[in-house]
Amino acid sequence: MAKKHLIWNERYECMPDSKKKELQLERLKLLVSRVYDKVAPYKAKMDAAGIAPKDIKKLEDIAKLPFTTKEDLAANYPFGMFAVPMKKIIRIHSSSGTTGKPKVAGYTKNDIKMWADVMARTLTCGNTTKNDVVQNAYGYGLFTGGLGAHYGVEKIGATVVPISGGNTKRQILVMKDFGVTKMCCTPSYCLFLSEALREAGLEPGRDIKLNTAFLGAEPWTRELREQVEKNISIDAIDIYGLTEVIGPGVSSECMEKVGLHIFDDNFYPEVVDPDTQQPLPLGEKGELVFTTLTKEAFPVVRYRTRDITRLIPEKCACGRTHIRMERLTGRTDDMLIIRGVNVYPSQIESVIVQIPGLEPHYQILVDRQGAMDMLEVWIEVSPGIFTDNIKGLEKLEKRIRGEMESVLGIGVKLKLVEPKAIQRSEGKAQRIIDRRTVYDK
């Protein structure tokens, strides 16, 4: 039986290829002139590369433009990459940066409208209609997940339950009593919840009406999908996005579940070789790079996501002409995603180096206990911080943990260990041990 495919914005989602290329080129030219005029760091980089807006004559010319990296965002923190004056900005979101300072995104009224549209497309990819009740368990706040999904649900006219993250008992109560049919959360939380639902003896179809979950903010495996889908008889849809590009709503699987459709009338994708930084032939695996074609407040040109994937040029059975990207297969940097939150080891190090006497001998251990990610940081007790007093060491432990939790925004288990307890290979400590399987093999 053919799968049912609802489409939110047929004009753009099913636009013929040639017409879309025209649209993309037209938008790219406008974007490049605009950032050249309005955003000093772009002008500086383009001048240094000897490229002017008039040099963009065809889509392929995008490869002449310099890349934008997370380091550029850090150097221009917080608002230095914005292309409009603050009075035009109606909202700010942020996510972890490589140091103690976050990556900051601004949105104009039109950006919020466009975001709601791409999130409506995402939710419609999983056949959401105004008859649905959507439980939004993404965190509300500076994190883009909560409000991003929220506006998409409202755009469709479905009922949003803005429950935010955590409190599994309440999640279950709401799901059951409110007749929730769709859910947004991280894949690991969805697995956790699905097990909690089963333990509570709630039967899919009878006690709960949930039929689809939109899972994003962290990579996940096929096995995890199969488990969630089997546990509570739902369709689990992979959704993708990042704060620097817009938040959730950059791409989404349709009910075919073969790759994620990139909303490429707004977000132009490239895949480049992470080492040579040269564009790769269509379909080859490399680092995903995005250019935002329509964003006003915080446009990015050739932003290096550090996510590894490939583009799928073949047409999809759902009828959308949006190009697809394969499920993520890795990263080109050391960023960890823990309970949906981006964590850079450098953030952890930044806390350690600012504590007097503490030496940067540490190790980060990540594991999954049940469905929950655990972050543990081991720090060697150096002579500089050692005291013969238990209370003194406990106080120090509490202080380090408190500072890490405030920088990272997630719980940390801290362990003080003896010097040299951390394995060193060829004199260099192995900083990160991630025991989870988050990518397909």
């Binding site: 050692f386 013969d388 007093n389 003080l416 003896e418």
Partner: protein, 142 residues
């Protein structure tokens, strides 16, 4: 004033044995010993007959160890003797961070090791109160 050696220990089976073995192999004698611990880590505290040598060998073996000034005093060998000794810092607002006591063959009385910030003040208070305070020489030759 007497020097105590303090060693950081992970709560891992056998680590305390390894630390004391390291001291023993260096030909250093442990005179008194106490361990304080939490669920994650512990601190070994001991009085030895050669502090510098013990510190050196422990550090060579990769332990974090330091020398801590402590006060060693004899508790009068009578009912309530220890309580009478402890009353002195309490009455004079000297904060005792921790203490441990032990008995030795060489002395009739129990020896109490006290960790305080103001050890000079405590020593003179104890002596005024008629308590025998051990010199470093006396402590290491217990």
């Amino acid at each position: 004033m007497v020097k105590q050696i303090s060693v950081f220990l992970e709560n891992k089976y056998g680590r305390m044995a390894e630390a004391t073995e390291a001291i023993g192999e260096a030909g250093v004698n442990i005179r008194a010993l106490s361990v304080a611990d939490t669920s994650d880590f512990g601190i070994l505290r001991c009085i030895v007959n050669d502090t510098e040598k013990a510190l050196k060998v422990l550090r060579e073996k990769g332990f974090t160890a330091s020398a801590t000034p402590v006060v060693a005093a004899e508790a009068p060998d009578e009912p309530g003797g220890l309580a009478r000794l402890l009353k002195i810092p309490r009455d004079n607002n000297v904060n005792v961070e921790y203490l441990y006591a032990f008995v030795t063959k060489s002395r009739d009385n129990a020896v109490v090791i006290l960790r305080v910030d103001e050890y000079e003040k405590l020593i003179s208070l104890l002596e005024k109160g008629g308590v025998k305070v051990l010199t470093e020489q006396e402590a290491v030759s217990l």
